[in-house]
């Protein structure tokens, strides 16, 4: 089978978020980059599915030239190849444009995908739209908030969606789209050989034209008073009763 996972390069933030001067982005002067925890699970799932069922896995991103770092990171975990839709770093793409570019790229691929995995939402913009738009454009079924994936046959896949109080279970024909959530699996760490192999894996790059955005982010606002509050409960054994009390309040006892 062929599995596609889409990821997005996002800053790996510390405790305090600092905005750029124009307040339209997070300042990344001191930050590294990553993909969202949801996407990490999608990648892990894709690798596992291919390990079980054979076939090929592909990671796709739409992002600046530097996003190749994330593609290599994902290939270090076992993804076979990458598709990079290279954008100009200074412009964010809205969900519609992103979805359209991804659809074009999927259509241009030589082999069709059986399963297209997305993170439930991106770690930065959080529009929750791209996967659904892609599915719609391609005329494929889509299940969101997926916490378990089981390939049942060549034709169908079982997708379990987390809902309050339980799970909705869908069996959908492939090709299908799923947006996955953290907790789907426990992603692996890359091995050193995996890292080194990733350097040599193929990345197909293209540069789609950025359409006029339909949705434009004007500026970011930091929530006031978003600092962490720390209370020292005590030192050593003396702190034990206070710790027990807190755990009790949290309903963990």
């Amino acid at each position: 089978m062929n599995v596609l996972v889409s990821v997005k390069r996002v800053p790996l933030t510390g405790g305090k978020i600092v905005l750029t001067d124009d307040e339209r982005a997070i300042s990344t002067r001191h930050l590294g980059f990553t993909v969202s925890p949801h996407e990490e699970c999608g990648v892990e799932e894709a690798v596992r599915l291919i390990e079980q069922h054979g076939g090929s896995s592909t990671v796709l991103t739409l992002g600046p030239p530097e996003a190749e770092e994330q593609l290599r990171d994902m290939m270090a975990l076992g993804i076979d190849r990458a598709v990079h839709l290279v954008t100009d770093a200074s412009n964010e793409w809205d969900p519609q444009a992103t979805a359209n570019a991804i659809v074009e790229a999927i259509r241009a691929e030589p082999d069709p995908y059986d399963l297209l995995l997305f993170g439930n939402e991106s770690a930065d913009a959080g529009n929750y739209q791209v996967a659904i738009r892609v599915a719609h454009k391609l005329g494929l079924p889509v299940v969101t908030g997926v916490k378990a994936i089981t390939v049942e046959s060549d034709q169908s896949v079982r997708l379990e969606q987390e809902v309050p109080g339980g799970r909705d279970v869908y069996v959908v024909p492939m090709p299908a789209v799923a947006t996955v959530k953290e907790g789907l699996n426990l992603p692996r760490y890359p091995s050193v050989p995996g890292r080194l192999r990733a350097k040599r894996k193929p990345v197909a790059s293209s540069t789609p034209a950025r359409p006029q955005p339909q949705l434009e982010m004007v500026r970011l606002v930091l929530p006031p008073g978003a600092g962490k509050e720390t209370e020292v409960l005590g030192n050593g054994a003396d702190a034990a009763p206070a710790v027990v009390k807190v755990l009790d309040e949290l309903g963990l006892l």
């Binding site: 600092v18 002067r29 080194l196 350097k199």
Partner: protein, 838 residues
């Protein structure tokens, strides 16, 4: 700095390994009013201590670094946080195998034993997961190990708190008040802290904090990449933190070490990555801590390949994951040495910076002693922050040199190794002339100094077999037989030597005499016109420096000292100026240049260019005189560091070139040659057994041991007098001796020439230790061309310090026979000193 005593209010900025150990040692020395502040939380405030790899290899070619490391290991062991795992430095090349024999030599010289050279199979035996086919051997230090530096800091801090230390965490420094040149107050987010002494122990942040007080801590933050991989199946049943020796893959600038069930891989191989102290992110903004920056994978890719090849079983295991990867920030200086002591710019503002884990507690103890006692048990003259010249404190210089040094962290560094970056900063007025004469330059104190002159190559034919050639590449590096030919020409005729690198400063004012008497061991109440060669002593009677002082006037004394520690000397003297301002110090280093003129024809030459009487009667030894040389007012000082008749000629800097031309022209008929520092610093000096500060003379040895306790002790008080009198009464534990090499022939038939710091052994190869526990080692080594012998100096215990005593030197894995030639200050060449007094 005279010790400030323990009745001081001290603020220590920084709660890493350095700040904690410093605070602890201050309390141990009786200081009770100490406050430690850090902008981060405890126990890990987010500096370099928190992410350090924490391993310690004790053997270093630098004696000072080794002593700091050994003291630190002793403290870590006392604190119960040291795990002895052993460590192996592996060799991939023949050149490295030779270097490993040098490591053995340093281990023996500094008394670190046992150590052992291993075959690849023996390495495999100790590190079964290594591919031994890639290596030629290893240098094994069983005493190497790993420490818990955060725990060590915590224990020391807790002990200090019991003794009264106040700690303020999460407290950021906003500014430092300076009043009348003295730092008085630290302003923080939690209020002001008044202080008599403020110590900056903030690692990579130190330059930024120092700037707040108008001072410079010349280091740069740099990135060191490291990753942790695991879990390693082979380590699954590990009970301790480390059970296999640490491997330093020095030829690739990498290390690998077990850490519990994981393996840590670190590198100094990647491109040098520097940043500004101001660019280190805040604690809040950091994803991990401020000194654990985002990992840049592409910089590390080649290192992963290397580690995979070396330890395929572990690194090649697909189930072993990369769990942690950082660009760790650490502190690197322009010359690779720490920055300890009071800053020369701001009184009361101290630096305890550019310290790594392996030196931390030793440096903390040392700085505490310097604050309280004015001197430290370990003499840290190479780490004295006052050593830097202004050009060495520029960002350009620091970044250039730190970047150049970064990839040499594990390099094979020659004793004469030269920096390549940011050269040609300090040029003497003779420089253009020297270039025309094909001078080969080496750097000293930032100056370009001719080591020898290509134009003198013709002397090699003149002197033929009297000039030794060196066959081995190692000893030929940064060296030329032309040096020895220049030496012989100086002894036969005359030589002119560029001495622009001297540091020169005047002590001036009604209180000058008393100031100079206080710092100088010898009698300084001498007539104007006298030149006095004198040690400066520490309170305990060790060497602070040896230098010359000219009495210029009743109330003016001119100090002339070597370039290397000139600024440290200036600070030492400045620190002892009277409080009432009755004496002042003026730096004249860049006002005067100095040309040395020495040799049997020197007087003929000088007489031909001056109308002044420069006869022996009119200008005897150890006198100076103002004379005219053509249009140039010249101070001629009749002394010599090369043991021949002649003068140091001091002229205003801008007139130096004219002086050079006059002397060169007048000297031509007499066969004068330009000679380099190879003659001045080594061959000429060693034939006369003149001691050099930093080699023979340092805080660990006293005047009696150095064989310089001639004459009576002056009645006036001076720093170290009491101790010096005591030293005169006791049997010296060691005596400075000069030795000559009996046979240079190695087992391969190639003649080898030791370069210094080799252990002096008995003929049968046993190390020699004096009753104070100090090993005998070669302090200086070099040719004695007039003598026709190779000369070594070194301290020997009295039972070995007998003229004619036969000993041996270990060098490059072999032993060479040597014989003691003198056991006092009598020179091996011209023992009556007839030449200098002719």
């Amino acid at each position: 700095m005279t010790g400030a005593g323990n009745n001081q209010r001290v603020v220590v900025i920084g709660a890493g390994i350095v700040g904690n150990s410093l605070a602890y040692h201050l309390t141990r020395l009786g200081v009770s009013d100490i406050t430690m502040i850090d902008k981060g939380p405890l126990p890990n405030p987010g500096g370099s201590t928190g992410h350090a790899s924490n391993f310690i290899f004790p053997v270093d070619h630098s004696k000072e670094m080794t002593l700091l490391t050994l003291e630190s290991m002793r403290q870590y062991k006392d604190l119960g946080v040291f795990i002895e795992s052993g460590g192996i430095e592996i060799a991939r090349t023949d050149e490295r195998m030779q270097e490993l024999t040098r490591r053995v030599v340093s281990a023996k010289s500094w008394g670190i034993e046992p150590v052992e050279l291993l075959t690849p199979e023996q390495v495999k035996d100790k590190v079964p997961f290594i591919d031994e086919t890639l290596i030629l051997g290893g240098f094994y230090t069983p005493g190497a190990g790993v420490v818990d530096s955060l725990r060590a800091g915590t224990i020391m801090r807790e002990r200090a708190i019991e003794a009264g230390l106040k700690v303020s965490a999460n407290t950021e420094v906003l500014g430092i008040d300076v009043e009348h040149g003295r730092a008085t107050r630290v302003k923080t987010t939690k209020g002001d802290f008044d202080a008599d002494i403020i110590v900056i122990a903030c690692g990579a942040w130190s330059p930024r904090i120092a700037r707040m007080a108008g001072a410079s801590i010349p280091l740069t933050p740099m990135v060191h990449q490291m990753i942790d991989i695991g879990p390693v199946p082979r380590f699954a049943n590990t009970t301790g933190m480390i059970e296999y020796p640490i491997v330093r893959d020095v030829d690739t600038n990498m290390y690998e070490r077990q850490e519990g069930t994981g393996l840590e891989i670190g590198s100094y191989a990647h491109r040098p990555i520097t940043l500004e102290a101001d660019d280190i992110p805040s604690i809040e903004e950091s994803a991990l801590t401020p000194t654990e920056l985002p990992f840049t994978q592409h910089d590390f890719d080649p290192q992963m390949e290397i580690a995979l090849d070396l330890m395929p079983e572990i690194v090649g295991d697909e189930t072993v994951g990369v769990k942690y990867a950082i660009n760790g920030v650490l502190s690197v200086t322009y010359d690779g040495m720490p920055l300890l002591g009071e800053t020369p710019e701001t009184r009361g503002l101290w630096s305890a910076a550019a310290i790594w884990i392996k030196e931390g507690p030793g440096a903390g103890k040392t700085v505490a002693e310097l604050i309280v006692d004015g001197e430290s048990e370990i003499d840290v003259f190479e780490s004295n922050i006052a050593r830097a010249y202004s050009c060495q404190k520029t960002r350009t210089h620091i970044v250039s040199r730190a970047s150049e040094g970064f990839n040499k962290m594990y390099g094979i560094v020659h004793p004469g190794e030269q920096w390549e970056s940011d050269r040609r900063v300090r040029l003497s007025p003779f420089h253009e002339r020297e270039k025309q004469l094909e001078a080969v330059f080496i750097e000293g104190a930032g100056w370009e100094r001719p080591n020898w002159y290509g134009s003198n190559a013709g002397l090699l034919d003149e002197y033929g077999d009297r000039v030794t050639k060196r066959e081995a590449e190692w000893e030929s590096r940064w060296w030329s037989p032309i040096i020895n030919a220049e030496h012989l020409a100086m002894r036969d005729r005359a030589a002119m030597i560029d001495l622009s690198a001297f540091a020169i400063f005047d002590v001036v004012g009604p209180g000058a005499l008393q100031t100079v008497q206080n710092v100088a061991m010898r009698q300084m109440n001498v007539p104007v016109g006298r030149v006095v060669y004198t040690p400066l002593l520490t309170p305990s009677g060790g060497f602070k420096q040896d230098l010359t002082i000219m009495r210029m006037a009743d109330d003016v004394f001119r100090f002339v000292t070597g370039g290397a520690y000139g600024m440290s000397d200036k600070k030492w003297v400045a620190d002892h100026l009277p409080e009432d301002g009755s004496a002042q110090i003026h730096d004249q280093t860049n006002a005067f240049t100095t040309l040395g003129l020495w040799g049997p024809r020197a007087r003929d030459i000088l007489e031909s260019v001056t109308s002044a009487d420069v006869s022996h009667t009119a200008l005897p030894f150890a006198r100076w005189k103002q004379i005219e040389i053509g249009p140039v007012q010249t101070l001629a000082s009749r002394i010599s560091y090369v043991g021949d008749l002649g003068w140091e000629l001091y002229v205003p800097f801008e007139q130096g070139a004219r002086l050079w031309d006059i002397v060169a022209e007048a000297g031509a008929p007499h066969g004068i040659i330009p000679a380099g520092i190879g003659v001045y610093g080594t061959t000429g000096r060693l034939e006369k057994c003149y001691r050099a500060y930093g080699a023979e003379l340092e805080g660990e040895y006293n005047v009696v041991e150095a064989g310089m306790a001639w004459g009576k002790v002056k009645d006036e008080d001076f720093i170290g007098r009491e101790a010096h009198l005591r030293h005169r009464d006791e049997e010296p534990a060691a005596i400075m001796c000069t030795l000559t090499v009996d046979d240079h022939t190695s087992s391969s038939g190639v003649k080898r020439y030791m370069l210094g710091h080799e252990p002096i052994l008995t003929r049968s190869g046993e190390p020699i230790t004096d009753r104070k526990g100090r090993r005998s080692y070669v302090t200086s080594a070099g040719s004695g061309p007039s003598l026709g012998k190779y000369i070594l100096m070194g301290y020997l215990p009295p039972e070995h310090a007998e003229v004619g005593n036969q000993l041996s030197i270990e060098y490059m894995g072999e032993r060479y026979p040597v014989t003691v030639a003198t056991n006092d200050s009598t020179p091996v060449f011209d023992p009556e000193n007839a030449r200098v007094r002719s």
